[in-house]
Symmetry: C2
Subunit: 211 residues, 2 copies
Protein backbone atom coordinates (compact mmCIF):
# COMPACT_ATOMS: atom_id res chain seq x y z
CA UNK A 1 0.00 0.00 0.00
CA UNK A 2 1.26 3.56 0.55
CA UNK A 3 1.95 6.10 -2.19
CA UNK A 4 3.36 5.09 -5.59
CA UNK A 5 4.21 7.39 -8.48
CA UNK A 6 4.51 5.82 -11.92
CA UNK A 7 6.46 8.02 -14.30
CA UNK A 8 9.70 9.18 -15.79
CA UNK A 9 12.01 11.37 -13.66
CA UNK A 10 12.39 13.98 -16.43
CA UNK A 11 8.69 14.33 -17.31
CA UNK A 12 7.47 17.80 -16.23
CA UNK A 13 4.06 16.34 -15.30
CA UNK A 14 5.65 13.60 -13.17
CA UNK A 15 7.93 16.20 -11.55
CA UNK A 16 4.87 18.32 -10.66
CA UNK A 17 3.63 15.38 -8.56
CA UNK A 18 7.07 14.61 -7.05
CA UNK A 19 7.45 18.28 -6.10
CA UNK A 20 4.08 18.27 -4.38
CA UNK A 21 5.04 15.13 -2.41
CA UNK A 22 8.37 16.76 -1.47
CA UNK A 23 6.56 19.90 -0.21
CA UNK A 24 4.40 17.61 1.94
CA UNK A 25 7.39 15.53 3.18
CA UNK A 26 5.60 12.37 2.09
CA UNK A 27 7.41 9.11 1.35
CA UNK A 28 6.61 7.28 -1.87
CA UNK A 29 7.78 4.51 -4.14
CA UNK A 30 8.81 5.62 -7.64
CA UNK A 31 7.95 3.15 -10.41
CA UNK A 32 9.89 3.92 -13.60
CA UNK A 33 7.82 3.93 -16.79
CA UNK A 34 10.31 3.60 -19.67
CA UNK A 35 9.00 6.04 -22.28
CA UNK A 36 11.73 5.00 -24.76
CA UNK A 37 10.21 1.51 -25.07
CA UNK A 38 6.62 2.80 -25.02
CA UNK A 39 5.74 1.32 -21.62
CA UNK A 40 3.31 4.22 -21.13
CA UNK A 41 1.20 3.00 -24.06
CA UNK A 42 0.93 -0.62 -22.82
CA UNK A 43 -0.43 -2.64 -19.93
CA UNK A 44 -0.06 -2.47 -17.00
CA UNK A 45 0.34 1.34 -17.26
CA UNK A 46 -2.73 2.02 -19.43
CA UNK A 47 -4.89 0.42 -16.74
CA UNK A 48 -3.82 3.39 -14.57
CA UNK A 49 -4.06 6.00 -17.33
CA UNK A 50 -6.01 4.99 -20.45
CA UNK A 51 -4.62 8.11 -22.19
CA UNK A 52 -1.13 6.56 -21.94
CA UNK A 53 0.66 9.53 -20.37
CA UNK A 54 2.78 9.73 -17.22
CA UNK A 55 2.39 10.14 -14.32
CA UNK A 56 0.13 7.58 -12.73
CA UNK A 57 -0.47 7.59 -8.99
CA UNK A 58 -1.61 5.23 -6.26
CA UNK A 59 -2.44 5.88 -2.64
CA UNK A 60 -3.68 2.66 -1.06
CA UNK A 61 -6.81 1.69 -3.02
CA UNK A 62 -6.97 5.00 -4.93
CA UNK A 63 -5.58 5.12 -8.48
CA UNK A 64 -5.32 8.45 -10.31
CA UNK A 65 -3.93 10.08 -13.43
CA UNK A 66 -3.64 13.74 -14.61
CA UNK A 67 -0.85 15.47 -12.68
CA UNK A 68 -2.98 18.43 -11.56
CA UNK A 69 -5.70 16.14 -10.20
CA UNK A 70 -3.05 14.21 -8.29
CA UNK A 71 -1.48 17.32 -6.73
CA UNK A 72 -4.92 18.66 -5.73
CA UNK A 73 -5.68 15.32 -4.07
CA UNK A 74 -2.36 15.34 -2.18
CA UNK A 75 -2.87 18.97 -1.10
CA UNK A 76 -6.37 18.18 0.24
CA UNK A 77 -5.81 14.73 1.72
CA UNK A 78 -2.53 15.74 3.40
CA UNK A 79 -3.52 19.33 4.24
CA UNK A 80 -1.92 19.07 7.69
CA UNK A 81 1.49 17.85 6.46
CA UNK A 82 4.46 19.97 5.29
CA UNK A 83 3.84 23.17 3.29
CA UNK A 84 0.19 24.31 3.11
CA UNK A 85 -0.67 24.49 -0.61
CA UNK A 86 -4.38 25.34 -0.51
CA UNK A 87 -6.61 27.35 1.86
CA UNK A 88 -10.02 26.61 3.38
CA UNK A 89 -11.65 30.04 2.91
CA UNK A 90 -13.79 29.76 -0.28
CA UNK A 91 -13.00 33.27 -1.58
CA UNK A 92 -9.24 33.00 -0.97
CA UNK A 93 -9.32 29.50 -2.47
CA UNK A 94 -11.20 30.87 -5.51
CA UNK A 95 -8.29 33.22 -6.31
CA UNK A 96 -5.83 30.33 -6.06
CA UNK A 97 -8.25 28.29 -8.20
CA UNK A 98 -8.35 31.02 -10.84
CA UNK A 99 -4.55 30.99 -11.20
CA UNK A 100 -4.54 27.18 -11.19
CA UNK A 101 -6.75 27.41 -14.28
CA UNK A 102 -4.58 30.13 -15.85
CA UNK A 103 -1.51 27.88 -15.47
CA UNK A 104 -3.28 24.92 -17.06
CA UNK A 105 -5.09 26.83 -19.82
CA UNK A 106 -2.72 29.68 -20.70
CA UNK A 107 0.83 29.25 -19.32
CA UNK A 108 1.14 25.55 -20.05
CA UNK A 109 -0.31 25.86 -23.57
CA UNK A 110 2.65 28.07 -24.55
CA UNK A 111 5.27 26.86 -22.07
CA UNK A 112 4.98 23.12 -22.57
CA UNK A 113 4.88 23.46 -26.35
CA UNK A 114 8.02 25.66 -26.25
CA UNK A 115 9.79 23.19 -23.98
CA UNK A 116 8.91 20.45 -26.49
CA UNK A 117 10.09 22.43 -29.55
CA UNK A 118 13.37 23.71 -28.07
CA UNK A 119 14.42 21.01 -25.58
CA UNK A 120 12.71 17.71 -26.32
CA UNK A 121 12.74 17.68 -30.14
CA UNK A 122 16.57 18.05 -30.38
CA UNK A 123 16.96 15.27 -27.75
CA UNK A 124 14.90 13.00 -30.01
CA UNK A 125 16.86 13.99 -33.14
CA UNK A 126 13.93 16.04 -34.49
CA UNK A 127 14.31 19.55 -35.94
CA UNK A 128 12.97 22.54 -33.97
CA UNK A 129 10.44 24.51 -36.04
CA UNK A 130 11.54 28.13 -35.60
CA UNK A 131 8.26 29.57 -36.94
CA UNK A 132 6.41 27.64 -34.22
CA UNK A 133 8.93 28.88 -31.64
CA UNK A 134 8.34 32.51 -32.70
CA UNK A 135 4.58 32.13 -32.41
CA UNK A 136 4.81 30.43 -29.01
CA UNK A 137 7.27 33.03 -27.69
CA UNK A 138 4.77 35.78 -28.58
CA UNK A 139 2.01 33.77 -26.85
CA UNK A 140 4.14 33.22 -23.73
CA UNK A 141 5.13 36.92 -23.65
CA UNK A 142 1.49 37.97 -23.58
CA UNK A 143 0.86 35.59 -20.66
CA UNK A 144 3.94 36.85 -18.79
CA UNK A 145 2.79 40.46 -19.19
CA UNK A 146 -0.32 39.53 -17.23
CA UNK A 147 1.79 37.67 -14.65
CA UNK A 148 4.04 40.73 -14.26
CA UNK A 149 0.99 42.91 -13.49
CA UNK A 150 -0.37 40.34 -11.05
CA UNK A 151 2.98 39.78 -9.28
CA UNK A 152 3.47 43.53 -8.85
CA UNK A 153 0.40 43.40 -6.57
CA UNK A 154 0.93 40.13 -4.67
CA UNK A 155 4.03 38.08 -3.90
CA UNK A 156 2.56 34.89 -5.37
CA UNK A 157 -0.14 34.27 -7.98
CA UNK A 158 -2.77 33.18 -5.46
CA UNK A 159 -1.93 35.87 -2.87
CA UNK A 160 0.82 36.54 -0.33
CA UNK A 161 1.52 32.85 0.28
CA UNK A 162 3.05 30.22 -2.00
CA UNK A 163 0.38 27.78 -3.19
CA UNK A 164 -0.33 24.98 -5.64
CA UNK A 165 -0.94 27.66 -8.31
CA UNK A 166 2.77 28.61 -8.18
CA UNK A 167 4.00 25.02 -7.71
CA UNK A 168 2.37 23.82 -10.95
CA UNK A 169 4.60 26.18 -12.98
CA UNK A 170 7.97 25.05 -11.62
CA UNK A 171 8.88 22.08 -13.86
CA UNK A 172 8.21 23.99 -17.11
CA UNK A 173 9.91 27.20 -15.85
CA UNK A 174 12.93 25.06 -14.93
CA UNK A 175 13.02 23.59 -18.45
CA UNK A 176 12.60 26.96 -20.17
CA UNK A 177 15.36 28.52 -18.05
CA UNK A 178 17.79 26.18 -19.87
CA UNK A 179 16.81 27.66 -23.25
CA UNK A 180 16.95 30.88 -25.26
CA UNK A 181 13.47 31.71 -23.92
CA UNK A 182 14.86 32.60 -20.46
CA UNK A 183 15.17 36.35 -21.33
CA UNK A 184 11.36 36.52 -21.58
CA UNK A 185 11.26 35.84 -17.83
CA UNK A 186 14.35 37.96 -16.98
CA UNK A 187 12.89 41.03 -18.73
CA UNK A 188 9.99 41.22 -16.29
CA UNK A 189 11.30 42.06 -12.79
CA UNK A 190 8.42 40.68 -10.72
CA UNK A 191 8.22 37.52 -12.84
CA UNK A 192 11.99 37.14 -12.58
CA UNK A 193 11.98 37.43 -8.76
CA UNK A 194 9.06 34.98 -8.55
CA UNK A 195 10.91 32.44 -10.71
CA UNK A 196 14.11 32.74 -8.63
CA UNK A 197 12.08 32.19 -5.48
CA UNK A 198 10.28 29.13 -6.91
CA UNK A 199 13.41 27.49 -8.35
CA UNK A 200 15.23 27.86 -5.00
CA UNK A 201 12.59 25.97 -3.02
CA UNK A 202 14.20 23.09 -1.08
CA UNK A 203 11.46 20.73 -2.29
CA UNK A 204 12.35 21.48 -5.93
CA UNK A 205 16.10 21.03 -5.27
CA UNK A 206 15.22 17.65 -3.79
CA UNK A 207 13.26 16.65 -6.93
CA UNK A 208 16.09 17.66 -9.28
CA UNK A 209 18.72 15.97 -7.12
CA UNK A 210 20.44 19.30 -6.33
CA UNK A 211 19.80 18.97 -2.59
CA UNK B 1 -23.62 43.36 -4.40
CA UNK B 2 -24.74 39.78 -5.04
CA UNK B 3 -23.69 37.63 -7.99
CA UNK B 4 -22.99 39.09 -11.43
CA UNK B 5 -21.99 37.19 -14.56
CA UNK B 6 -20.36 39.19 -17.35
CA UNK B 7 -20.55 37.36 -20.65
CA UNK B 8 -22.34 36.53 -23.86
CA UNK B 9 -25.36 34.19 -23.68
CA UNK B 10 -24.01 31.95 -26.48
CA UNK B 11 -20.45 31.57 -25.15
CA UNK B 12 -19.93 27.95 -24.01
CA UNK B 13 -17.69 29.15 -21.16
CA UNK B 14 -20.30 31.66 -19.97
CA UNK B 15 -22.99 28.97 -20.25
CA UNK B 16 -20.88 26.65 -18.06
CA UNK B 17 -21.16 29.25 -15.28
CA UNK B 18 -24.87 29.97 -15.88
CA UNK B 19 -25.58 26.22 -15.78
CA UNK B 20 -23.76 25.90 -12.46
CA UNK B 21 -25.77 28.81 -11.02
CA UNK B 22 -29.00 27.20 -12.31
CA UNK B 23 -28.09 23.86 -10.65
CA UNK B 24 -27.60 25.79 -7.41
CA UNK B 25 -30.85 27.81 -7.81
CA UNK B 26 -28.89 31.02 -7.30
CA UNK B 27 -30.08 34.40 -8.52
CA UNK B 28 -27.69 36.58 -10.49
CA UNK B 29 -27.48 39.65 -12.66
CA UNK B 30 -26.33 39.03 -16.24
CA UNK B 31 -24.15 41.78 -17.72
CA UNK B 32 -23.93 41.49 -21.52
CA UNK B 33 -20.42 41.78 -22.97
CA UNK B 34 -20.87 42.55 -26.68
CA UNK B 35 -18.24 40.40 -28.38
CA UNK B 36 -19.14 41.84 -31.81
CA UNK B 37 -17.85 45.28 -30.77
CA UNK B 38 -14.85 43.86 -28.89
CA UNK B 39 -16.09 44.88 -25.43
CA UNK B 40 -14.24 41.84 -24.02
CA UNK B 41 -10.91 43.33 -25.10
CA UNK B 42 -11.52 46.77 -23.48
CA UNK B 43 -12.10 48.36 -20.10
CA UNK B 44 -14.05 47.85 -17.93
CA UNK B 45 -14.08 44.13 -18.84
CA UNK B 46 -10.31 43.61 -18.97
CA UNK B 47 -10.09 44.78 -15.35
CA UNK B 48 -12.10 41.64 -14.55
CA UNK B 49 -10.24 39.36 -16.99
CA UNK B 50 -6.90 40.66 -18.32
CA UNK B 51 -6.97 37.83 -20.90
CA UNK B 52 -10.04 39.46 -22.48
CA UNK B 53 -12.29 36.40 -22.55
CA UNK B 54 -15.80 35.89 -21.20
CA UNK B 55 -17.10 35.12 -18.65
CA UNK B 56 -16.22 37.39 -15.78
CA UNK B 57 -17.83 36.89 -12.39
CA UNK B 58 -18.51 38.85 -9.22
CA UNK B 59 -19.84 37.71 -5.86
CA UNK B 60 -19.81 40.68 -3.49
CA UNK B 61 -16.17 41.76 -3.21
CA UNK B 62 -14.83 38.70 -5.09
CA UNK B 63 -13.99 39.07 -8.78
CA UNK B 64 -13.04 36.02 -10.84
CA UNK B 65 -12.37 34.82 -14.37
CA UNK B 66 -11.82 31.35 -15.94
CA UNK B 67 -15.14 29.51 -16.15
CA UNK B 68 -13.89 26.36 -14.40
CA UNK B 69 -12.49 28.35 -11.47
CA UNK B 70 -15.84 30.14 -11.17
CA UNK B 71 -17.89 26.92 -11.15
CA UNK B 72 -15.57 25.34 -8.56
CA UNK B 73 -15.99 28.42 -6.37
CA UNK B 74 -19.79 28.29 -6.71
CA UNK B 75 -19.84 24.54 -5.98
CA UNK B 76 -17.74 25.02 -2.81
CA UNK B 77 -19.16 28.28 -1.50
CA UNK B 78 -22.78 27.19 -2.08
CA UNK B 79 -22.29 23.50 -1.29
CA UNK B 80 -25.55 23.39 0.67
CA UNK B 81 -27.73 24.88 -2.11
CA UNK B 82 -29.44 23.03 -4.98
CA UNK B 83 -27.69 20.09 -6.66
CA UNK B 84 -24.52 18.83 -4.91
CA UNK B 85 -21.72 19.09 -7.49
CA UNK B 86 -18.68 18.07 -5.43
CA UNK B 87 -18.10 15.71 -2.49
CA UNK B 88 -16.17 16.12 0.77
CA UNK B 89 -14.43 12.73 0.89
CA UNK B 90 -10.88 13.30 -0.49
CA UNK B 91 -10.66 10.01 -2.43
CA UNK B 92 -14.12 10.35 -4.01
CA UNK B 93 -13.35 14.01 -4.77
CA UNK B 94 -10.04 12.97 -6.36
CA UNK B 95 -11.90 10.84 -8.93
CA UNK B 96 -14.19 13.77 -9.76
CA UNK B 97 -11.06 15.97 -9.90
CA UNK B 98 -9.38 13.58 -12.33
CA UNK B 99 -12.33 13.80 -14.76
CA UNK B 100 -12.48 17.57 -14.30
CA UNK B 101 -8.90 17.65 -15.62
CA UNK B 102 -9.72 15.22 -18.45
CA UNK B 103 -12.55 17.52 -19.58
CA UNK B 104 -10.30 20.59 -19.53
CA UNK B 105 -7.19 18.96 -21.00
CA UNK B 106 -8.55 16.34 -23.40
CA UNK B 107 -12.27 16.72 -24.22
CA UNK B 108 -12.26 20.50 -24.53
CA UNK B 109 -9.08 20.57 -26.65
CA UNK B 110 -10.88 18.62 -29.37
CA UNK B 111 -14.49 19.61 -28.66
CA UNK B 112 -14.11 23.37 -28.45
CA UNK B 113 -11.88 23.49 -31.52
CA UNK B 114 -14.46 21.42 -33.48
CA UNK B 115 -17.29 23.66 -32.32
CA UNK B 116 -15.24 26.64 -33.53
CA UNK B 117 -14.44 25.10 -36.94
CA UNK B 118 -17.93 23.79 -37.74
CA UNK B 119 -20.29 26.20 -35.95
CA UNK B 120 -18.58 29.50 -35.19
CA UNK B 121 -16.47 30.01 -38.33
CA UNK B 122 -19.48 29.81 -40.72
CA UNK B 123 -21.38 32.26 -38.45
CA UNK B 124 -18.49 34.70 -38.87
CA UNK B 125 -18.33 34.17 -42.64
CA UNK B 126 -15.08 32.20 -42.34
CA UNK B 127 -14.44 28.90 -44.17
CA UNK B 128 -14.33 25.64 -42.19
CA UNK B 129 -11.00 23.85 -42.70
CA UNK B 130 -12.02 20.24 -43.42
CA UNK B 131 -8.52 18.86 -42.85
CA UNK B 132 -8.57 20.37 -39.37
CA UNK B 133 -12.07 18.92 -38.81
CA UNK B 134 -10.85 15.43 -39.80
CA UNK B 135 -7.92 15.61 -37.39
CA UNK B 136 -10.08 16.91 -34.53
CA UNK B 137 -12.75 14.25 -35.15
CA UNK B 138 -10.08 11.55 -34.80
CA UNK B 139 -8.85 13.21 -31.61
CA UNK B 140 -12.38 13.45 -30.18
CA UNK B 141 -13.12 9.81 -31.13
CA UNK B 142 -10.10 8.62 -29.14
CA UNK B 143 -11.31 10.60 -26.11
CA UNK B 144 -14.87 9.25 -26.47
CA UNK B 145 -13.55 5.67 -26.60
CA UNK B 146 -12.11 6.22 -23.13
CA UNK B 147 -15.37 7.84 -21.97
CA UNK B 148 -17.34 4.84 -23.28
CA UNK B 149 -15.17 2.46 -21.22
CA UNK B 150 -15.52 4.67 -18.14
CA UNK B 151 -19.29 5.15 -18.50
CA UNK B 152 -19.81 1.39 -18.90
CA UNK B 153 -18.56 1.11 -15.30
CA UNK B 154 -20.18 4.15 -13.63
CA UNK B 155 -23.25 6.20 -14.49
CA UNK B 156 -21.33 9.49 -14.47
CA UNK B 157 -17.66 10.33 -15.01
CA UNK B 158 -16.95 11.00 -11.34
CA UNK B 159 -18.99 8.07 -10.02
CA UNK B 160 -22.66 7.16 -9.57
CA UNK B 161 -23.73 10.77 -9.01
CA UNK B 162 -23.81 13.72 -11.42
CA UNK B 163 -21.02 16.19 -10.60
CA UNK B 164 -19.17 19.23 -11.85
CA UNK B 165 -17.06 16.88 -14.02
CA UNK B 166 -20.16 16.07 -16.11
CA UNK B 167 -21.55 19.60 -15.98
CA UNK B 168 -18.44 21.14 -17.57
CA UNK B 169 -19.06 19.14 -20.77
CA UNK B 170 -22.65 20.21 -21.41
CA UNK B 171 -22.25 23.48 -23.38
CA UNK B 172 -19.81 21.95 -25.91
CA UNK B 173 -21.80 18.69 -26.23
CA UNK B 174 -24.89 20.80 -26.91
CA UNK B 175 -23.03 22.71 -29.65
CA UNK B 176 -21.60 19.57 -31.25
CA UNK B 177 -25.02 17.87 -31.25
CA UNK B 178 -26.10 20.49 -33.81
CA UNK B 179 -23.32 19.40 -36.19
CA UNK B 180 -22.19 16.47 -38.33
CA UNK B 181 -20.04 15.34 -35.38
CA UNK B 182 -23.09 14.07 -33.43
CA UNK B 183 -22.74 10.49 -34.79
CA UNK B 184 -19.43 10.19 -32.88
CA UNK B 185 -21.49 10.40 -29.68
CA UNK B 186 -24.43 8.32 -30.96
CA UNK B 187 -22.14 5.43 -31.96
CA UNK B 188 -21.09 4.83 -28.35
CA UNK B 189 -24.12 3.61 -26.33
CA UNK B 190 -22.95 4.63 -22.85
CA UNK B 191 -21.70 8.01 -24.08
CA UNK B 192 -24.98 8.51 -25.93
CA UNK B 193 -27.11 7.74 -22.85
CA UNK B 194 -24.92 10.04 -20.73
CA UNK B 195 -25.31 12.90 -23.23
CA UNK B 196 -29.11 12.46 -23.36
CA UNK B 197 -29.24 12.55 -19.58
CA UNK B 198 -27.05 15.69 -19.36
CA UNK B 199 -28.88 17.61 -22.09
CA UNK B 200 -32.26 16.90 -20.43
CA UNK B 201 -31.26 18.43 -17.09
CA UNK B 202 -33.79 21.11 -16.05
CA UNK B 203 -30.93 23.49 -15.22
CA UNK B 204 -29.60 23.23 -18.79
CA UNK B 205 -33.08 23.74 -20.29
CA UNK B 206 -33.31 26.87 -18.16
CA UNK B 207 -29.97 28.18 -19.51
CA UNK B 208 -30.96 27.57 -23.13
CA UNK B 209 -34.40 29.09 -22.65
CA UNK B 210 -36.13 25.76 -23.39
CA UNK B 211 -37.74 25.59 -19.93
Amino acid sequence: MGIKVHGHPLSPAARRVLLCLAEKNLDYEFVLVDLSTGQHKKEPFISINPFGQVPGFEDGDLTLFESRAITKYIAHAYADKGTPLLVADPKKMAIIGQWLEVEAQKFDAAGQALSFEILIKPMKGMATDESVVDKLQAQLSAVLDIYEARLSKSKYLGGEEYSLADLHHIPIISNLFKTKVKPLFDARPHVSAWCSDLLARPAWLKVTGAA
